[in-house]
Symmetry: C2
């Protein structure tokens, strides 16, 4: 029998999805599973999007241009202007989700063995795109004690080698919810200019910032024009994850030319999705006000309830819709699976993403989980009560089995 590739063996399973079989089995046993594991918002997709698809008129469902239609990209420049970034239409390449933007960005800038520095914990799927290209992810640890702030310049410089080609941040951050400040971005600017690196920023949660804070796009930093590569997606902004429509944006022409070659190889992004994305640009401001108000309320519910549980710590996230919590257990991989396999509280259990998969350094994050607050307050309250009972029961059964 022929053998699979070494990279296929090395490829890590998704920490967000790997417990799915246990959740499925629990549901088959009649247990209600509250999903805190995946960033699938429950917020309605804007009506303008749904109407555009209903009214989309065509006789042949054709390919798009590989880079996306001129019309849509022209409209996008207005959107980017509204968030403080001046880009031209040709500097935007449409991609199939932010995922593909990352893949194409990596392929275009990093060769096998090249290194990319990423503050950990980080969105676990970055590993997948790196593995595809045999790219080495070099983690730099941010910790729950500082609320996951950016590590110091000194820490970054310790990690830079002759193979370092890029730094990648996610801002606001998935999984930590951390929003990088102007000062932190300036620090990154200094490093990438000094060492001539690319700076990738995954800004798909750009709209989700709280307490009147402001998200700063790296596209708004003129000194970074040849270094900045932004990964974007409509998934979270318009609660349209299933569209799989994103973009890679850079002012570096060589990168654009190269990304376009990868984009041409896969022909185009999905046509229905571009129709949805173009319509989404007409979403009224009131939608975002409603959504942000809702997320702030959920976040506050979640974080305050979590911190009330004995032994649980959860810093207040400044953006996105994720929180990282430290639990009083040794290994959240074991605990999260146990919650699905062996526990229920009044017929309900909770699915969370064990955090170790968001760290590249072995051993880190073992007592942490990522929680996505994409459910209504009532469900969050139920979930956290259930988690609290689960923690008690887990402790008891661990003691009994000793």
């Amino acid at each position: 029998m022929p053998k699979i590739s070494k990279k296929g063996i090395l490829m890590p399973p998704s920490p967000i999805r790997k417990l799915v079989p246990y959740a499925t089995a629990a549901k088959k046993r009649g247990i209600k599973v509250i999903h805190l594991n995946i960033g699938q918002p429950d917020i309605e997709t804007p009506e303008v999007v749904r109407n555009a698809i209903k009214n989309f008129d065509y006789s042949v469902l054709s390919y798009l241009n590989s880079e996306g239609s001129e019309k849509y990209r022209q409209k996008l420049t207005q959107y980017y202007k509204s968030v403080g970034a001046t880009v031209e239409a040709h500097q935007i390449i449409e991609t199939t989700g932010g995922s593909e933007a990352l893949l194409f960005g990596f392929m275009s800038t990093l060769d096998a063995g090249d290194e990319i520095i990423i503050p950990e914990p980080f969105y676990a799927n970055y590993n997948g795109f790196a593995t595809a290209g045999d790219i080495k992810v070099v983690p730099i640890t941010s910790s729950i004690e500082t609320g996951f702030a950016l590590p110091s310049i000194e820490e970054f410089e310790k990690k830079i080698t002759s193979r370092t080609k890029a730094i990648l941040i996610c801002n606001p951050n998935n999984p930590t919810g951390y929003l990088y400040s102007k000062e932190e971005l300036d620090r990154l600017k200094e490093i990438v200019l000094k060492h001539d690196l690319f700076l990738f920023a995954d800004e798909v949660y750009r709209e989700f910032v709280y307490e009147g804070k402001k998200h700063i796009s790296i596209l708004s930093m003129p000194e970074l024009s040849q270094h900045a590569i932004v990964v974007d997606s409509i998934s979270k902004r318009y609660s349209a994850c299933g569209a799989r429509l994103g973009a890679l944006i850079t002012q570096n022409q060589e990168v654009l030319d190269t990304v376009l070659k990868f984009a041409q190889a896969r022909l185009s992004s999905p046509t229905y999705s571009e129709v949805a994305a173009e319509a989404a640009l007409e979403t009224p401001a009131s939608y975002f006000e409603m959504v942000n108000k809702e997320y702030i309320s959920r976040r506050d519910t979640l974080v305050s309830l979590l911190n009330k549980i004995e032994g649980v710590t959860c810093p207040l996230p400044g953006g996105a819709f994720y929180a990282m919590a430290q639990l009083p257990v040794e290994d959240t991989d074991v605990f999260c699976q146990w919650m699905l396999e062996h526990f229920n509280w009044n017929g309900t259990t909770v699915m969370m993403a064990p955090a170790a998969g968001f760290y590249a350094t072995p051993g880190l994050g073992k007592n942490e989980v990522r929680i996505a607050y994409v459910l209504e307050n009532k469900e969050i309250e139920e979930a956290i009560k259930c988690l609290e009972e689960g923690l008690k029961a887990f402790k008891n059964q661990s003691q009994n089995s000793n």
Copy 2:
């Protein structure tokens, strides 16, 4: 300024799309450009597909399962049964187009430096997916003289090294239109079993076979159960290229497990597209009869007209909707660009795909073009008349400039 990757430099531009800027410029000058360069069918997408999208009811556009919904994959097993292949739902992984199936298939079975043998000329974008993984494409030449039949076992064995992991065929073939016979597939079976290789078959043109010939899926060959990996897509079958919905199908569990990890990293295929694909399975048989009749008529028009032009040779394709033609010019890259930049016949010109980009061996295919017959007979007639006039004018201007 930071540098792009070496693989980004090596990445070949698409021979199908690289002349697009010249076509765009010609259109801006008021020239009508007849597109024979791209396999974008003009046939209507089935009404069941369009209705399903119009009637798709949802409030949140959510992610799908990474491998596609159970319901859709269950239905697909019936479809595969109808084409002679027995597969189970879990042996099908939904992908974003056939392109992604190829990418995931390559990533799961080939490491950097590993070799895949592909009969040339081949679909040029295979190069792109190989380049992404630093995989070496080893071409084995099929020639226009034999109508692009499969080379002999001896020829294959000359190419096999310790790094050979797989063979890839496209059946019916893009760009040649060649349909592999049972005898040829048995020959491939013998080779892959003897050398323990994977056999990839891109079968996206499965439905387009003519003269009562029969397409044979490698999924119907039980001895290949652990070797066969099929790449599929709804793009051509239902004239739904813009859906970007495909599948990777294999009975090799290790490959399935590995492909799933890559699929999970990008979360899911586009949701609208799965709705379209599921509906497409209800397309009536009459649709395919109509379509095949139409393509046979177009093919016959194209091939007979081409062979009437002095110095032009075009073998009769047995399937798909492409033909390869040899033209009486030295370099079709130059000629095809000249047709767009400097020629028109009554305000019309023709865009074709220069064939050199479909060969991996340098120097081959320089006097060939790939022509997609995805236009009505009247347009094909106009295009070939225009090509004939273009060839004359090109010859004259070449002689004058000497």
